[in-house]
Amino acid sequence: MIRINCPYCGERDHSEFSYGGDATINYPSLDASEKEWTEAIFFRKNIKGFQFETWHHSNGCRMWLVVERSTVTHEIKSVKPCHPNLQKVVENNK
């Protein structure tokens, strides 16, 4: 079991969460070329090692998180709210 330290709920089993995917994708502008959109939608770095990825606390607070996790050892370095402004809120409430 992987344990994910949800910033809102505390440390929980990963079975409470749903895996999203690569958190570093930047979607291009609407008028960008097909090539750029294909790259953003279909092509992945598929990192072997530490990566930033999204998880949804689907059986908990239902918030989206960005998790820095190793895809080899499953060790987690950091967990943050997906929305950048919510990180400040979480820190202020500590």
Binding site: Y19, T38, F42, N46, Q51, H74
Partner: protein
């Protein structure tokens, strides 16, 4: 290499089994080959075999970082079927099934291919309609397919749970020519047959880098020295992205996920088919090995991973599915479970294609279905490498299909790799 036949079995029986030769050589790497296949799994070995057999290209090396049979070749549930409907896929997998039917003779090695029928249960009228459509498409293309009503199913497999009120069994879609095989024997059989035709199988030979010249890959750095190849093929599903980035080719439409498989203690004959139970997108498949063990598997672990070990929530999930459909397995003990790393692609279909590097060819993206595909994968990958253009069946199984909008998505699940079964 001593051929397996009745005469040799009797002769060695009388001589204390002392005249058998080793199954394949353990050669030192040569400095250069006509074709270097990276990855000594079923697909790599089959490719080397068909390069030598069909295309008379015998100066071939297969590079394996571990040992033959130690990767995904030994980490599957050994199911062979061809129930696909998308153009390209059904012809490809049907060709694979035909190769399976003659594989033991072809390789002079008993791969224990058993056409015991693949029985896919359905649980609602909607599911019946959906599967009927797929199996009708199969029939139109000459693949065997039939529907079993509840009466037939109860006669064939009496001990399924027919009293499940949440997911009542209404019948099954059946492919009788499908079944399973012994996975180790397939790996050893292809290795032995390829070796006999002159292919060098280099184990403990890990690729660590590439040297580029004029846009081509000139040589490969490995843990056993530098090896040159006029043509190079990647057949390393699970780790394709790692090698792809080592060659500085950027991103791929692939995520690596792990899939678990389970083996129980051996019991008396209980199940004479491969049974698939799939409700609500979930997935459970089970068969009984010749030794008597129940061999079964379920879904992915649902998060990206390169670790070859499974996680416990999926063990529970699979055990629950087993109990839902086979309550008689309740007291059976699990002997082993393991995980294999797979290339999950953005549309659930594979790649056998050329790459941006002119002497590099790609075989990747096998999702859940690499085992059954092995013979045809080797067949058409060898064809691509030898003739430098893809066969009609695999002409759209390339990296450009996403940009062109001709995704080959059997499940219609969209661009999320973990959703493709």
């Amino acid at each position: 290499m001593t051929k397996f036949n009745a005469w040799n079995v009797i002769k060695n029986g009388l001589n204390g089994q002392s005249y058998w030769t080793r199954q394949w050589r353990d050669p030192e790497p040569k400095s250069s080959y006509d074709v270097v296949i990276i990855g000594g799994g079923l697909h790599g070995l089959a490719t080397a075999y068909y390069l030598a057999k069909n295309h008379n290209i015998k100066n071939v090396a297969v590079l394996e970082k571990g040992w033959i049979g130690g990767g995904n070749a030994g980490r599957n549930t050994t199911i062979v079927r061809s129930n696909y409907m998308m153009p390209g896929n059904h012809e490809f997998y049907e060709h694979s099934l035909k190769l399976w039917e003659n594989l033991s003779h072809e390789l002079n090695y008993n791969v224990m291919f058993s056409q015991r029928a693949h029985v896919s249960l359905f649980h609602s009228p909607g599911a019946k309609d959906s599967v009927s459509r797929i199996y009708n498409i199969m029939r139109l293309h000459g693949t065997d397919a039939e529907l079993w009503d509840l009466k037939t199913l109860k006669k064939k497999i009496p001990h399924l749970n027919y009293h499940n009120s949440r997911f009542p069994i209404l019948g099954a879609a059946v492919q009788k020519r499908a079944g399973n095989a012994r996975h180790d024997a397939v790996a050893w059989g292809y290795a032995r047959a390829a070796d006999t035709l002159g292919v060098d199988i280099l184990q403990n030979c890990e690729v660590t880098g590439f040297t580029r010249k004029n846009g081509n890959i000139e040589s490969i750095q490995t843990s056993r020295g530098i090896i040159k190849g006029k043509k190079i093929g990647f057949a390393v599903a699970g780790n394709t992205s790692v090698l792809w980035q080592m060659a500085e080719l950027g991103n791929l439409p692939i995520e690596s996920h792990k899939l678990q498989a389970f083996v129980s203690e051996a019991v008396k004959p209980l199940l004479d088919q491969v049974v698939v139970y799939g409700v609500g997108g979930a997935h459970f498949y089970i068969s009984q090995s010749d030794k008597g063990s129940m061999v079964f598997g379920g879904d992915l672990d649902w998060y990206k991973s390169y670790a070859q070990r499974g996680n416990l929530p999926m063990v529970q999930d699979v055990a629950e599915a087993a109990m839902a459909i086979f309550p008689s397995l309740g007291r059976i003990r699990l002997l082993r479970h393991w995980a294999g790393v797979m290339d999950m692609t953005m549309d659930g279909s594979f790649f056998i294609c050329k790459t941006p590097i002119s002497n590099l060819y790609l075989n990747a993206g096998w999702n859940y279905g690499g085992f059954k595909a092995s013979p045809a994968s080797g067949w058409y990958f060898a064809d691509l490498i030898a003739n430098e253009s893809p066969h009609n069946y695999v002409q759209n199984h390339n990296l450009e299909r996403f940009e062109k909008g001709i995704n080959i998505d059997e499940r219609g699940a969209g661009p999320d790799p973990k959703l493709h079964g």
